[in-house]
Amino acid sequence: MANADALDAAFADGPAYVPYLVVGDPDDESSKAYVEALDRGGADVIELGLPFSEPIAEGSTIQEALVRSLDAGMTPDRFFAFAEDLEVDAALVCMTYYNLIYQYGGSEARSASDASAGPRPFVERAAAAGIRGLVVPDLPAEEAEPLREACDEFGLDLIFIVAPTTRGDRLDRMMANVSGYVYVQARLGTTGARDDVSDQTTASLDRLGEYDVPKAVGFGISTGDHAERIVAGGADGIIVGSALVDVVAEGVAAELSTAEVADRLEALSRELKAGAERGHRSRTETVESA
């Protein structure tokens, strides 16, 4: 049974470390070990990727992980069973594409003349599996009403992604719908590990300053140094995906043991978490010395 704390709690004391992995990559058993390693490494929230066949928002690292998971037979029901099975302290968030949410529960929901019937069964099942929030990269705020309602009904948070280019009306609309945290996209483009920290991040955090919701920055964070600088720059948390998925992919390529890969994931997690904490301290110090 997953940890039942609310997402806000995860951001309550100190910067949150929010790692992402694709569930079922490369198989359910290893995947469980990997997610639990993230937890041991200090995860506050874990984003569990439920693979969709057309992941238009992903970089190639994550896309390939999604394909590995699908090829191994991942389905929404297996995903929920996986989540139920997990023994972790971190709060669980499901990251997937809207069509899987919309289809869940079969054709009855779909073919009802009321189009909003779609997402409810998925959210209900997710809640039962201990999922505390949803990230849906292809669902803009404008189309989010039915999902927002279902999340409210079952007590899940709906997390939106804010891009470097999001501002004005769109940003307001999004902020009116968001809960849990906002996913601040560090740069233009899709997911994927990078070496530098973007100026766009700082600008985004500035723009978001007035909104009272935790801001987790993602896209491209791969080292403790990154994490430090981002948190120092004002982020309430860091989201790390591709860098961790890379570790899994290397494990597949080099045929490493599950334990070995889990160890590496745990170690990288500790590094990232420690970086985030350093960043937080330096920020506090700056604030104090100011």
Partner: protein, 434 residues
């Protein structure tokens, strides 16, 4: 000058005919359509929507005039509406062919590609990207980009590259960069994802030319409006030649761009029956286990979902995973369909029909040998429909010949060789490839 006159008349006309305006306001076609895209793309989509409204709808800076002129000079418009003498005899009804196969590049695809590349130029973009599956949209985009002097990158699955080498060669000859997509299964789906990925990083100076009436708003309305020139011409030509609008209009449907292009101007003519012919593949049965639909009949056999930015009808399994579709014609081989068509089918305005691979191949040979026109395998489905359903048609039928078959010679030899196709010439000397 006469261009402007025509436009004005058209605008008045459009106002009286709501079908031509559908979706322009908000990208919605009843429950279908929308903008299901990553947040990072939203600004680009909003910028594009704005440009679409200004240039395409309001002819700002004379965009529409330039577009029409280039379509005429570079593309070869208008294309003829030709009476098909022998098919008319065979089916005891007047059959007319709208000859999009004569458009530059050999298919209707240029209407859209030229429109979008020109629009990108008006928007001040400096680079064009596009996905392609069979290579038809890619070649059309590469041609338009060369013509308008825009750098262009085409994403294409590695497997498709190997299956469609002549089209790859054409794109490269036209100066485009062709980027092989090696992720996943190396086909159209992956190419679309890869193009979206590129776009997400480069939205500021890059325009993504989508190849059909799919994707997020404003693509479905914009591509329809660019392709609508087919039905604008066909309707006028039919009236001029036959004294009235046709009783039936037939077009094949993959994503649906030639379909909506051929239907658009007739949607408001309630007397005109509209037939969208999909690829029935080998069978309409679906293999849920393997996630494979051996067809691509999303209007006929699909159900509602969200794919590539829009809510529409899809081929998907019960979880919502998109199926691998199949068709003898790679250009119809897509698991989704334009949201406007999904809407018009639900409304009962468009009649969706599936024609299987065998009937399409027969249609291919029938048109080739009796009319002297070798159609694209996509187009051939429309002629399979004619053979099977001609008895329920009225006395004046317009069929859109969406493309020519030169690109399909290899595939046609091979597929014909596998079957006993009615009316096919003896090709045994060629089997084993050319």
């Amino acid at each position: 000058m006469s261009e402007t006159d025509t436009r004005t008349t058209e605008e008045t006309e459009t106002a009286r005919r709501p079908g031509r305006r559908r979706g322009r306001e908000d990208g919605k076609f009843g429950r279908y359509g929308g903008q299901y895209v990553p947040e990072a793309l939203m600004p680009a989509i909003e910028e594009l929507t704005d440009a679409y409204e200004r240039y395409v709808l309001d002819n700002e800076d004379g965009f529409v005039d330039e577009f029409r002129e280039r379509l005429a000079e570079f593309g070869g418009r208008p294309t003829p509406l030709q009476r098909a003498d022998r098919l008319s005899e065979r089916y005891e009804t007047e059959v007319y062919l709208k000859r999009e196969d004569l458009l530059h590049g050999g298919a209707h695809k240029l209407n859209n590609a030229l429109g979008q590349v020109l629009l990108a130029k008006y928007m001040g973009k400096e680079r064009i990207i596009a996905e392609t599956g069979a290579g038809q949209h890619g070649t059309a985009t590469a041609m338009a980009a060369a013509h308008l002097d825009m750098p262009c990158t085409i994403y294409m699955g590695e497997r498709d590259i190997n299956r469609q080498r002549p089209n790859v060669f054409r794109m490269k000859l036209n100066g485009s960069e062709v980027k092989p997509v090696t992720t996943g299964r190396g086909t159209l789906k992956e190419a679309i994802s890869e193009t979206m990925r590129d776009w997400a990083e480069t939205v500021e100076d890059t325009h993504y030319v989508i190849g059909s009436i799919v994707g997020p708003h404003p693509f479905p309305v914009m591509v329809r409006d660019f392709q609508a020139v087919i039905s604008e011409e066909a309707r006028e030509q039919a009236i001029e030649k036959t004294g009235g609008v046709p009783t039936d209009v037939v077009a094949c449907a993959g994503g649906g761009s030639n379909t909506m292009g051929t239907f658009a101007e007739f949607v408001d003519d309630e007397s005109v029956a509209l037939h969208a012919v999909e690829a029935g593949g080998s069978t309409l049965e679906v293999d849920e286990e393997a996630g494979v639909a051996p067809n691509s009949a999303s209007l006929f056999a699909g159900d509602e979902g969200v794919l590539h930015g829009a809510r529409t009808k899809l081929l998907q399994d019960s979880d919502g995973q998109i199926m691998e579709s199949h068709s003898v014609s790679s250009g119809l081989d897509y698991a989704g369909v334009g949201p406007e068509l999904a809407y018009l089918v639900d409304e009962g305005r468009v009649d969706p029909v599936a024609v299987d691979d065998d009937a399409a191949l027969e249609g291919f040979h029938r048109l080739s040998s009796t009319e002297g026109i070798i159609p694209a395998l996509e187009t051939a489905h429309a002629f399979g429909f004619l053979e099977k359903h001609h008895e329920k048609l009225g006395e004046r039928v317009v069929v859109n010949v969406s493309g020519r078959g030169d690109k399909d010679l290899d595939a046609a030899i091979e597929e014909t060789d596998k079957r006993d196709v009615d009316g096919a010439p003896d090709m045994s000397m060629f089997t084993g490839g050319m």
